[in-house]
Amino acid sequence: MKITQGTFSFLPDLTDAEIGAQIDYALAHGWAIGVEYTDDPHPRNFYWELWGNPMFDLKDAAGAMLEVQACRKAHPQEYVRVNAFDATRGFETTRLSFIVNRPTTEPGFLLKRHEVAGRQIQYTIESYATQKPEGQRYE
């Protein structure tokens, strides 16, 4: 199951040229580019690992693409995303975030139904991938 998180998530995966164009767009707005990776695809997982420091004052996408490639090379079977952070007062938040690398097989999520008082049901989702320990999740 292809996970759909962040911008462009319902499109087919972006090519490198398209990723570069998006990064150029972000840089033209003065947003800082950060690269992050994780092996936990849960949509509520906000704690992706930083790949190096966020890149402030870049002028061209080529610099950020270097980091994207390096991160993909180091974590080929994990999720990698590019974030564009807007430091303008009032925003001070991520303006653009999209996935640029994903594992070849994505096992999807298990839906758990938890019965509570009054036969009410609480739902939880859990990624099949995270049932295995870290480092063995997408082997």
């Binding site: 190096g52 870049l58 002028k59 061209d60 996408a61 610099g63 270097l66």
Partner: protein, 294 residues
């Protein structure tokens, strides 16, 4: 698709030139930079080469993108940084760098203080320079033969790799004094062979320095009086004989000191009403107070 049908049959160099608006920069270069004739000629050559390369590409002749890394050698104050800035503009107009900005660095920006510090630092700078021109001033400091564990070597290796693999993303200009650059290139043949254009910046002639001084004063909204002009005429040859003469930079410093003395002189004539003329004019005595006349 057949390339013969898609590519045009002929190409007009003059329209290509007009489209690139590179002539504006070249003319500006001619107008604003005094002297430096061999440098200007080389820049025109390079611009012509790049333009022809673009024309060839339009006709479907693949030649591989030309190597554009350069070295600027010359004494201090001969305009290396200024020309590098213009070079970035020219390359941008011709479409050889995408953004056309200049990142000027020295050894300190590239080389770290301890093991493992250099590579990230150099890469950081390279990333910033992508799409533009990386100008490394006093590049010979990167290589210190007397210390074989110096981290400068590491920076050079990373630089070499990027210069070779990402020619489309970045142009590197190494600058420094001629003699030391020569030893630097001799001990780093890999670097030397990757640099296609060696530009030598000659020293300025006294006449040119005089023109430069006038240009600088005009830019600062000052002018020389008759006696000031005469004093400048005498000052320049004397200053050129002094140690640590740094061409245009020395002239700039001399003018800054003259401004200081002019301010002092005006201050001492307190009772007087000062008009525009008085505030703008640098007199001979302002220059003659310099230590080179003693």
């Amino acid at each position: 698709m057949n390339s013969a049908t898609s590519a045009p049959e002929t190409v007009d160099l003059s329209t290509l030139l007009a489209d690139s608006r590179v002539t504006e920069v070249l003319d500006e270069l001619d107008r604003e930079l005094i002297g430096l004739t061999p440098v200007k000629a080389r820049i025109r050559d390079i611009a012509a080469l790049l333009l022809v390369e673009r024309a060839r590409k339009q006709l479907g002749l693949a030649g591989g993108s030309p190597s554009l890394h350069m070295s600027f050698t010359g004494n201090p104050g001969t305009g290396k940084t200024t020309v590098a800035l213009r070079m970035a503009q020219i390359l941008h107009r011709l479409g050889y760098v995408r953004k056309g900005h200049l990142v000027a660095v020295t050894r300190d920006d590239l080389v770290g203080q301890y093991i493992g510090h250099t590579a990230p630092k150099t890469k950081e700078i390279l990333k910033k320079a992508m799409g533009g021109v990386l100008f490394i001033d006093e590049a010979y400091y990167l290589y210190r033969p007397e210390n074989e564990r110096d981290y400068g070597q590491e920076a050079i290796e990373i630089l070499l790799q990027v210069m070779e693999n990402q020619r489309d993303d970045l142009v590197v200009i190494l600058a420094g004094y001629a003699d030391r650059m020569e030893t630097f290139f001799r001990s780093n043949p890999g670097l030397s062979s990757r640099i296609a254009h060696h530009l030598e910046f000659p020293d300025y002639l006294p006449v040119e320095l005089e023109q430069i001084a006038q240009r600088m004063l005009a830019a600062m909204q000052y002018r020389l009086s008759g006696s000031g002009l005469a004093a400048l005429h005498e000052y320049i040859p004397l200053r050129m004989k002094q140690p640590h003469f740094a061409n245009a930079r020395s002239i700039r410093n001399a003018l800054d000191r003259a401004r200081l003395r002019q301010a002092n002189r005006l201050f001492e004539q307190k009772g007087r009403q000062l008009d525009r003329e008085a505030l703008m004019t640098i007199e001979g005595e302002d220059l003659r107070a310099s230590r080179v006349f003693t």
